[in-house]
Subunit: 362 residues, 4 copies
């Protein structure tokens, strides 16, 4: 059943295979009057693009986005927005060897069994290449959130393998190809990645995304809580195996007297909750974390079976990232922006009249 | 906007406040011909019911469920199923003291700001009491999954505060009020909870849910992946701050050569993925974990503000669980069952024709 | 698949069989702060209730509605609203004769073939009894539309068999059991119905519903146009076979120079469009018509087959309306109100910022 | 709010303005294994294309469709299908005169007031040009229905202004530019249209669409009835003001003893119902009718206002159809096919297990 859409009110629907003709998406429900152009979207795509550092895939695609509809004289018109990226660098020959077998850790086996047929070229629809359209759509959400609401959505690589960020210096994040927030640890990261490449292996990563300036009230209990929809959106990114909000899994060992964030006339005294209480934004920063598995596209040989169920072996060639987590930072930001945009419109639809005399905290 | 439904094909919609007249739900899309009666649903509700151990709230509600529609002569008819639980033990007086202030760590402040009005009695809609209907609906999903597909959905308390289960003995889980899978650690748990109660404090917990016998093919990429929808469903449970699949956050430090699960003619050689590849079930056990925060309803006084924004203090009286995680085991099972049921029907709708010659692994 | 919900933002989900335990619904997405009580809902239910005239079914049910959640101290709280009507007058014996055959013109055959099982008592879920919950939910929509937006939704019987209303006097509509807008034709209607009853036959009807005070802008092209959603909602009412907007099927023979409604500084010069242009409300009255078939529950014997496919005959006993169209007036009003409410919230969510200097016409 | 999608399981989402860069759509939920290529889609587009007769707009666009994703080696893969048509014949200058006023009978005023901004070139999103993507998506639905289920969806012009088809000869429908089913009346139609063109006026039309070979069981009561969803889909087509099923508005004057279709071991004895009983397909032909208004784009001058609310006059130049109903035949077929496809998958998802011993009628 149709599963290529996300969002109710601000709804993003995508299509496109790794080695097909093009990738595209439709953004439906974007308010009119938003100033947007292709350059703004391109800026976000460039942050995600492969080939920006020596540790990401050498595939070189300009990923040049076109706006096909929904924007007139530099402004959104309220109609559905079509975006398109043509695939230009398709070396399909690379993949013919794997058409009759299933790469372990990939979606080859599950797509084959679910659909009975699969576009094996570069993983087809299951390739991370599909995330380009998430970033493109997210750029529009980000633009609205910033221009109209003053909300900023940012992310960083909080951990790569065993290396945890020791501090978060936002000014550093976009200055290095790792989106890493601690400049001092960069040489360590560099060395780690060099070794990894030598081994032909890959590594997992942890990303943190933060939204600042979010008003109180976003989220629709009991099922479409803001945190539940964030979890859905982030877990839908390729390779993500875990999602958490605020203190996340650390809460397991916490006491209630420590975890609960005191409210004071000056604002919340702490933010263990990660900006969500009862599924509704509290006005504090929304903080979410995601764990990305190490890619299975490595040159270390792996045991597997072929389409007839017989044992065989696979070595993934082609051009791949040793840590897919790195490039996932702009993707995670995009997904968080899409969820916030959707929930802002949902909330406004239902509660535009509400006024309280209680001051808003942050 | 409407947020009280979950599922597309097997859709559960709930209503009800902690101290209102009744709780209820509608299950829409359940196939006809399923043998079901109130006793089966009641059995699951009884597992969740407060008051089953001395460490859960002393509130005593029979939580007696009625089937109002959709079942005829012991079988579902394919029409929408109405379920009802009347609230019988409503001590609303307990809560009048908190009507003018916001309990820290609760949804009081966010509901107040979002809606401008709130039913403060026992937390109203934000109370964990709403999860009774999740369990009721989940009981129907569980019955179908078991009877028609041989799928079993089970859960256990994998960690309570600092105490991690050392082994998983499924035969023990329903034999103790903690849903704990290791009999030998029960005295330790008991002692820990006794101390906690003495302190008037609360503790977090980690739960693991497992579905066995799931066929390959469930999940609708790229957004409605099976794992993304599981994350949504589990994160929508009160107090949950983190959700993970398979190795979860451990993947951050893993290498690809270790993480990827080899396919062999005899089945997968390991299950780091937790039964989901590319957002689609692989035929292996689905394994998900969730982190529950310590409840903020504790007798330790906490700083907060009142509805006018002035500083004050709150002590939560009333009857509360020192570890809400314990009772969440049946709730998490219910949510996983609902997601699997929904995805089974979605998958069948689209792919009922598909046949492959590749044998199904597990 | 789940089909018992209507609306995206203001979503109504219903359950209940004609002779089951109870009927109920959940209204999800209603804004908080609406003053509502059971009496207001009951008032609408009483308008629809069987037994209010000698020409509607003699079944006597108080149809007493209870509000189970979502309302606190006389005001909606923004959470999901549960409504319940218990079935009290269930003479199930009446229907046992038809359990093994299919009444022509009814849903017996299609439910049997679709679901493999059916609750044959009084038509089960396919009975017009389910429309009680539409009226109940519609009462809440009506209350919001009136209190908050000044929108009034009204309907009348515009034709019963060959008898067309010669004039529309709104003050008459609720003064007679036919909801007929022309007092002078009442004796004619009365005579027609008396004859019909004598024949043991039934007759079709046409209903017109009108919404006044609707702001310009409601409707979401290109698929969820206001008129498309109105058509969906009205066609979903039992026995409806046709729906039209404004001049409806008369447009087939019209010229463009006549049909198009001129805009003037004083407002539209005419309303052939029925208040919708390009799928969006124009600020004029929304005018919709629906055609209801004559009920097939008549005492004239009819040819049919039994569950084994063998020819047989059926005479519908029980208590039935000779013209189901009459009671459909409040139902059609309710459905129109639900659609307008839903679209108002959808529009507000997306376009709350929009301001134009062009004056609003009506 | 997002309104550019139709269907739940087989979901079509479209974008594109009359004079924008391109039109496109995403079809999500199409089963894998369907043999499809661009030529099949192009064939349907060519049937709808402007310029095929002297009575439709002179605009000449090849409307050449590209498949961008979801099809691999001639077969659908189960992933989302992207389709694109580039706009090549955009004479935007034609429309600059109307940028500051509202054409009566068009969506100019309502779009302006709803969104605060509009792409006035050729009506922008409100142009019938968007229906090209409906036809393209419908071609895929038609292909599946025919290849996998033997369902045929066909339509014809049943009335143009005062001229009603006297007989329905399916072999004639695609042989004339009017899709008219009675060869003998063609000279009459021709003369009527010639006169109309001379007057600079336009005329309404009635279209009938029929689906044959539909299995019993499609439709999801109580709201997503098959007929309700057909009404929604057909009413969403530009210029449609009425939709009916089977005998439609004629039922108003019918008696129950005449209307109800008798069931016999040899099948239904008649088809007044139009193939739907209780919102579920009966196995008989699905028969739907739609009324299309005369286009307001005529050369007869019309009174209107400008964006400041001042009175003015408009004469629509540009290239327009004097009867938009003619070209709507393939569009209506497409919409019916999409609804049937969606409901087939929905039904199969829920009821794939159901078997009855009652023979299927037709």
């Amino acid at each position: 059943m149709a599963g290529n859409s996300i969002g109710q009110h601000f709804r993003v629907t995508t299509f496109g295979e790794s080695h097909g003709v093009a990738l595209g998406c439709i953004i439906d429900g974007c308010p009119s009057g938003l100033a947007i152009d292709a350059a703004q979207i391109q800026h976000e795509l460039d942050r995600r693009r492969p080939g920006t550092s020596r540790y990401t895939t050498a595939r070189r695609e300009p990923d040049s986005v076109q706006i096909l509809s929904g924007v007139f004289e530099g402004e959104t018109t309220g109609t559905s927005i079509g975006l398109l990226i043509e695939n230009t660098d398709q070396r399909s020959k690379d993949y013919s060897a794997i058409s009759q077998l299933f790469r372990p850790g990939h979606a080859d086996y599950t797509y084959h069994q679910k659909y009975g047929v699969r576009d094996y070229r570069g993983g087809g629809r299951s390739s991370a290449r599909e995330t380009a359209m998430r970033v493109a759509a997210g750029a529009i959400a980000k633009a609205y959130l910033k221009q109209h609401l003053g909300i900023e959505v940012r992310g960083y690589l909080s951990q790569l393998g065993p290396i945890k960020a020791q501090q978060v210096d936002w000014s550093q994040v976009n200055e290095n190809p790792f989106f890493f927030p601690d400049e001092q640890q960069l040489p360590q990261l560099d060395a780690f990645m060099r070794d990894l490449k030598k081994q032909g292996d890959s590594i997992g990563a942890k990303i943190t995304v933060v939204a600042s300036g979010v008003p109180v009230g976003l989220g629709e209990p009991v099922f479409d809580r803001l945190d539940a929809d964030i979890a859905h959106a982030l877990m839908s990114i390729n390779a993500v195996k875990g999602v958490s909000i605020g203190d996340g899994f650390d809460v397991v060992e916490q006491h209630g007297s420590k975890h609960r964030d005191a409210l004071t006339p000056q604002g919340f005294a702490s933010n263990h909750a990660g900006g969500v209480l009862g599924g509704i934004s509290s006005g504090q920063d929304i903080i979410a974390h995601l764990a990305l598995k190490p890619t299975s596209s490595i040159t270390v040989p792996g045991a597997t079976i072929d389409v007839d169920g017989k044992a065989t072996e696979v070595v993934t060639k082609g051009r791949h990232d040793p840590c897919v987590g790195i490039r996932a930072v702009p993707i995670a930001e995009a997904m968080l922006a899409i969820v916030l945009m959707d929930h802002y419109l949902r909330h406004r639809g239902q509660n535009a009249d509400v006024q309280t005399t209680t001051p808003q905290l942050s």
